[in-house]
């Protein structure tokens, strides 16, 4: 079996992003993380690689900060990371991202499977796996909750809201996994130390042979505004819970809810 590839995204941790008074976002305190959904993809790749005795590599495209992701990624069972750190990633839409990843995958070699998370924790566009499959000319199996490989055949159980289905693919494919597929490992000290010795290959955007049009986003951000809930926020916090409950019930009665 050929080696496996996982694509991951290095994103701002949304829990550290603050909404300021004018509804703009303050990201100055926000650290980066591997997108949560992609941790499941990395884990799925690492587990399959261990089971079948093949290598599992990863690919990431981000801004200059993406270099900081290598140690965390490599401590999660990956053998190697290819990374592209370029300011173009800041404005990239799914069209540009898929073009960059597809060009890099063609350069990185032949893979049995290419694994992605179902969406990213920041933009959650859920497009990358499907777009990659088209650009690479191979099938896409999206929203997968169970994955196995037997005799070179990949069997995936997809979950699609109201139903599940089993999809079997021969030959290479792009897979997007749901968070429920596994529980990502928490790297121990040994894995973290070991990560420092593993290889990482930097590629420049210019080396991927992409035309200017391939790198020009089709979707442009016009504005980003913090979402503010307009709620009553009547909070009862007396020591006497019977009293609090009585006040809450009175409020619900007023709303016509009891």
């Amino acid at each position: 079996m050929q080696k496996l590839l996982v694509c991951y995204k290095w994103v701002l941790d949304e829990q550290d992003i603050k909404i300021t008074g004018d509804l703009s976002l303050d990201t100055s305190k926000a650290k980066y993380k591997i997108s949560d959904y992609d941790k499941n993809a990395i884990e799925a790749g690492a587990l399959l690689a261990e089971q079948h005795g093949v290598a599992v590599e990863a690919l990431t495209f981000g801004n200059a900060a993406v270099k900081q992701s290598l140690k965390d990624a490599l401590s999660r069972g990956l053998d190697k990371v290819f990374w592209i750190g370029d300011a173009a990633a800041e404005q990239a839409d799914a069209f540009v991202t898929a073009n960059v990843l597809a060009a890099a995958i063609k350069k990185a070699g032949q893979f049995a499977l290419i694994l992605c998370g179902e969406g990213s924790a920041d933009a959650y566009s859920q497009q990358t796996a499907s777009r990659l499959a088209v650009l690479l000319g191979i099938p896409a199996i999206t929203f997968v909750q169970q994955l196995s490989i037997t005799d070179g055949k990949v069997t995936a159980i997809r979950k699609l809201g109201d139903c599940t289905e089993a999809v079997t693919v021969t030959g290479p494919a792009v897979i997007s996994v749901l968070p429920e597929i596994n529980k990502p490992r928490i790297p121990g000290l040994k894995q973290v130390m070991g990560a420092a010795k593993k290889p990482a290959a930097e590629w420049k955007l210019n080396d991927l042979g992409l035309a200017a049009g391939d790198l020009t986003p089709k979707v442009r951000k016009l504005s980003v505004q913090g979402y503010v809930m307009d709620r009553k926020k009547v909070i009862f916090k007396e020591a006497d819970q019977a009293d609090n409950v009585a006040k809450l019930v009175a409020s619900l009665a007023q709303e016509g809810l009891c």
Binding site: A123, E165, A166, T168, K218, S223, I235
Partner: protein, 310 residues
Amino acid sequence: MPGIWIYSEDSAVARQLLTAGLELKTSMNQAVGVLTPNSEDAQSFVAAGADKVYVVRGSNPWPESYAGAVADILGREEAAVVLAGGTLRGKDLAAKVAAAMQAGLVTDAATITYANGNIETSRLIYGGLAVCTEAVALPAFVTIPPRTFAEAPAQGNGAGEVVTVEAANEDERISVTNVCPIVRQGTDIAGASRVVCVGRGLNKQEDLSLAAALAAAVGAEIGCTRGISEDYHWLPNDRYIGISGQKVKPELYIGMGISGQVQHVVGVRDAKVIVAIDTNEKSLLFEAADYGIVGDLYEVVPLLTKALQK
């Protein structure tokens, strides 16, 4: 025909998108068409105002396999705007077709307008923390979640034409089997009028009985946060509410022992009244609540259950 094209494998969703498509028809002064794999519904789209309907008929019933045929038709028609139903199957197909046509695609748009020669959309990002307004160059692809718009009503005198196109959608690399509906325990919480939701403030699985008693008292379904279903497996995955789980629109939502992370709160934003119960006064759910009680859910919930039973 350049213009606005609609696709969904779910005909009810396609009729909802027709409502958005007919608005764009007015602002863009272009015709609106529908692509459907469901021949039996073609006339309903014409009746609801579609100027042209393509029935795409292939021998492979897997909806995802229609991407190539849909891209061919849209390319030939020189589509300006494509609205696709935001089911998971629809998102998969839309991304494939957009890639084939080298087009931009906005996922899960809440609003869509035509402005300055582009399609402008708004959508949630960062797990629901912020709203992002974007401009998509034509041809512009947009997926719209089911139930964002009401279905376009039948107008009675539809004059649109229906054309059937054969699609070569067999792919010997892929076989699909065991297509089975998920058996849900209880009714679907997405449509529930009242929801009682539990989070990690609950100490053990047995204590779900507290939530069950409150739910019974107010006539609610039980939902949970992602941790309760995916990490603890105390409730099925289709019970968890949040950005990647269920979105609920009840008249009453009561959350207990919930920290109120934005990924969860985004799933309850459309609730009419939100009630939060948590020991931690700093729980973010209080920020998103209409009413709240700061207190131990083990003390508050039984009291509330008793009061509401009366």
